[in-house]
């Protein structure tokens, strides 16, 4: 599996980084590619949205490469990845997460690789009356399973399946553009997969609700918030839902920056993990 992942990596990063140098950005309107989630799909920070990565329209390619750092009180998460979209219909992504757990197990970290695919089923974020609807898959492979296994996780890999609906109202409250996304995800992932999949308290796919909302102060600046419900499958430590409030900046179609305050709840017994989230992406 690993050589395949490495090859996919190289291809995606090359296409995502080289493409912007070659051609003008895609034909979708600014910010309609969203940002890139910490799991590699286009979306907010923690919730995948129905939009596809980058700015490619129905006859174009789109791409994005990203880096994210999250600093909850007792941990630190580094993530990076790349995605391409084909004809605004399919998105393929790969993401890598490294979660420093120095405080729990000195010298150790948790890591996982996430391969994602999205299919836009119907609709357009702005121009259709109904929301844009997208079906997504995330194959997650934990690369450090010894630790999750020792605390009761059942599998080192898992498949998340989600359905996302996104809509932007150009003339929303206060005559500002208003964005709303709801995502329904079937998952077994513990802490997104960093603590493996399934556990002693539960080993079935569960349906989780996720929500994002944002208000565009201008076309470049958006204020918003997100919520992500999570399973709680491991007996050794409670797992909580995630929340964040964010500011997104889209100076142009090439670059965007998202800063957030994240509330990640209890992680491996360390309660009330809150901290800064910072993400940078380049897109095409």
């Amino acid at each position: 599996m690993t050589p395949i992942i490495r090859t996919l990596w190289l291809c995606l990063i090359l296409s995502a980084v080289v493409a912007p140098i070659q051609a003008a950005p895609g034909g979708r309107l600014i910010a309609t590619g969203g940002a890139m989630t910490v799991e590699g799909a286009a979306g907010g920070g923690i919730v995948p949205w129905a939009m596809l990565a980058g700015y490619g329209e129905d006859q174009e390619f789109g791409a994005a490469a990203w880096m994210t750092q999250v600093q909850p009180d007792d941990f630190s998460l580094q993530a990076y990845g790349a995605a391409v979209s084909l004809h605004n219909r399919v998105e393929l992504s790969i993401g890598k997460q490294r979660f420093d757990i120095e405080k729990v197990v000195p010298g150790e970290e948790l890591a996982q690789t996430i391969i994602g695919a999205k299919l836009r089923l119907n609709g357009d974020l702005i121009f259709s009356r109904l929301p844009q609807l997208t079906l997504g898959l995330q194959y997650k492979k934990n690369d450090t399973f010894a630790i999750p296994s020792s605390v009761g996780a059942r599998d080192d890999n898992g498949l998340d399946v989600y359905l996302a609906a996104s809509k932007l109202w150009l003339d929303g409250p206060f005559h500002r553009s208003f964005f709303l996304n709801t995502t329904l995800r079937a998952t077994k992932a513990n802490q997104g997969g960093l603590l493996g999949f399934g556990g002693d308290k539960g080993n079935r796919l569960e349906l989780m609700g996720e929500l994002s909302a944002g208000l565009f102060l201008t076309r470049q600046w958006v204020l918003g918030m997100e919520y992500r419900q999570k399973p709680d499958n491991l007996g050794f430590a409670r797992e909580d839902d995630w929340y964040d409030v964010f500011v997104g900046w889209f100076p142009n179609k090439r670059v965007s920056v998202v800063a957030a305050w994240s509330e990640l709840g209890s992680i491996t017994g360390f309660d009330d993990q809150t901290g800064v989230y910072l993400s940078l992406q380049v897109s095409q």
Partner: protein
Amino acid sequence: MRTDSQAEYAFMPLYPRCLKALIMGVFIVWHLGACSVTPTASSERTLYEELGGEAGVEQLTHDFIRQIAADERIKGRYRNSDIGRFHRMMVEQMCMETGGGCTYTGDDMRQTHAGMKITRVEFNAIVEALMRAMDNNGIDQGVQNRLLAIYAPMHQDIVLR
């Protein structure tokens, strides 16, 4: 007496609650916003007035057409058009749609674009041209959004017809 850790424990659950309240707040604001958009009859200025009336709409249309003409993706579409008529019709339409009291005498959008197979990229390019023209005229973001929301539903009459 409370110890420090108890006091801390009591405070901690507030964070998720605050965020839940914020999320609820968005929905409340959304509904309030929807209500406040309903015009209070005489007091709210028309969008036409917000755009600067006749002079404002004339200038915006002039700049809009210049932006279209400067965009490689779409300028070819207008090579054989009568730009004078295009300008007049655009002004009439904008005036009518924004409450300026004009009558639009041109063809409807579906007829005008029939057989042209305007692509989604071309439609977006026109939206971006309008955005740049509005930015260059210093038009307030809220007024821009109101105008864009009027034109956006035309997507279904214009694209790939």
